[in-house]
Symmetry: C2
Subunit: 315 residues, 2 copies
């Protein structure tokens, strides 16, 4: 069984969840237990009954004060999203569900609710006491781990350090092995144009990144010297590598969003269970209009089910 959280009720989460639950391919791939506010439970979806064995789709109501407003960040929406997520994690950790799939939350709403966290990734890692951990995003054959996540670009540049690179490469290698890739072939993006062009266009490559890559190779990781950022994601997408380590958010998400075609996924390397998420956000601007496309969530559910069936781990 998969646990599925409905996300921030002010966003498109509830409507894409409702649409995904009607998708025959989703229903064929796994039993699904949704965790979310009772007020957004779709008609026809039964309340979860732990003693019933035949519920293909069911709903476990999580806390909700119904004070949220569609299309905007509120403390109430943040609290509802947090309650659903916590309940979803409890179900997975108790062994009732084999993986967690999450609809989007809104960082600002989490903050308004008193949870000063960067996003779901950090929250889930904290609740799981996962250390080390890191987000991995996928689009087709391209798998990208992020060295730095949601921070100003200048801060990301300052956060690039050799030890962090080695640790991330080791974590990535281990997570891909846990997924069944026997000898993961990794790449790392440079920071500067053409990966610094031998020092002409920047020094981070030869001062920090290349030495870290060599240290990782000493630990048995199959990774080459930093590649030109405008080539490495193209190379990853055509299957040259099992994974690419990106140095900052947009270096990863510019190519991922171009390639994902509405089917991008993220998971968390180092977490004790599989958590899968679509790459889009709450889309407050279209929430409640019935135009949100459930395809990405559908793909996340199918892919989570496939990985659970094949026994893949994330650490």
């Amino acid at each position: 069984m998969l646990a599925l959280t409905s996300g921030d009720p002010s966003g498109i989460g509830p409507e894409i969840v409702a649409a995904a639950l009607k998708n025959p391919d989703v229903l064929a791939s796994a039993r699904i237990l949704v965790v979310g506010p009772e007020s957004v439970r779709p008609a026809g979806v039964e309340t979860y009954d732990p003693s019933a064995s035949a519920q293909d789709v069911s709903w476990a109501a999580s806390e909700d004060d119904r004070a949220w407003t569609l299309g905007t960040a509120t403390a109430s929406g943040g609290r509802a999203a947090l309650a659903a997520l916590r309940a979803g994690v409890d179900l997975v950790q108790a062994g009732c569900a084999q993986a967690l799939v999450t609809a989007p939350v809104c960082k600002e709403a989490l903050h308004l609710a008193g949870e000063r966290v960067e996003g779901q990734t950090e929250l889930l890692a904290r609740w799981d006491a996962a250390d080390p951990y890191e987000m991995v995003a996928e689009a087709g054959d391209l798998r990208v781990m992020l060295l730095t996540r949601h921070m100003p670009l200048r801060d990301a540049l300052d956060a690039i350090d050799g030890d962090g690179i080695v640790d991330h490469l080791v974590l990535f290698d281990r997570a891909l092995r846990a997924q069944g890739i026997e000898r993961p072939k990794l790449a790392i993006a440079g920071l500067n144009p053409h990966a610094g062009e031998g020092g002409l266009l920047g020094h981070e490559e030869h001062r920090t990144i290349t030495p870290a890559v060599r240290a990782a190779r000493q630990k048995g990781i199959d990774v080459g010297d930093p590649r030109s950022p405008d080539m490495v994601f193209l190379e990853g997408a055509r299957g040259d590598y099992d994974g690419v380590l990106a140095l900052y958010h947009d270096q990863a998400f510019i190519p991922l969003k171009l390639l994902s075609q509405g089917r991008g996924l993220t998971w968390i390397a180092g977490l004790s269970y599989l958590r899968m998420s679509p790459v889009h956000g709450t889309a407050f601007d279209i929430a409640g209009q019935g135009v949100a496309d459930p395809e990405n969530l559908v793909h996340a559910l199918q892919e989570a089910a496939r990985r659970v069936r094949s026994g893949q781990k994330t650490r």
Copy 2:
């Protein structure tokens, strides 16, 4: 007639030029005068004869000491590339050719030859006394102008200033109008993840970029507030904008190379004539092996011919 330079003779330039000259679609689209070292003139391509009117393809020999080595940057290769480029520009400026198409040069070789320049763009702009000017790169429907070109990422961040943004937006607008787009719709990428997310993820957007965009709008430019970098190129590629201003090299070239599929082009806004180039480099690693793909150069030649026929200007 199009002038075509053969680029650095140590790279793939001569072989892709030779292949392009055999392409029937290229031959059908324009008369071509190649400028390059006599030593790389393909068999069957006649020497240029200004008094002959019926040469569909001809070759004007430029200076060459033949001391270059295939597959490596040398002063000799840089000198040969410079001589061909200078002769090509002379042909266009004299009115003998209506546009210039250039095979790749190597920056390191130019430096070895004593020309300390960032690349062909800067050299051509200097020779043309073009001011302002800027490189524009295209992949399908996505057109991207660069605010900063080949420099370390840290330097690019420091080089982002409001006046530069306004000047670039004005230049881009004017160049697109000269191409026949009546009311160009422009966008600008933010610098930080999610364009700073209202200041949570960086301040450059609200301190520098947004005020500059407003100043540009005051000048009649149709441009919105900074967009999330991981969305704006996707939006540009699906035709939401006529042009996107990118803030740094990889922000532009990661999406451009993913989308170009071997057909990416660059031109220079503000130059007095049309100069078109493929997006790839000299590819020293495969030079002379006969495996280089001429498709990008073929596309550049066809597209230059099309724009000359339709009377498009670049300023």
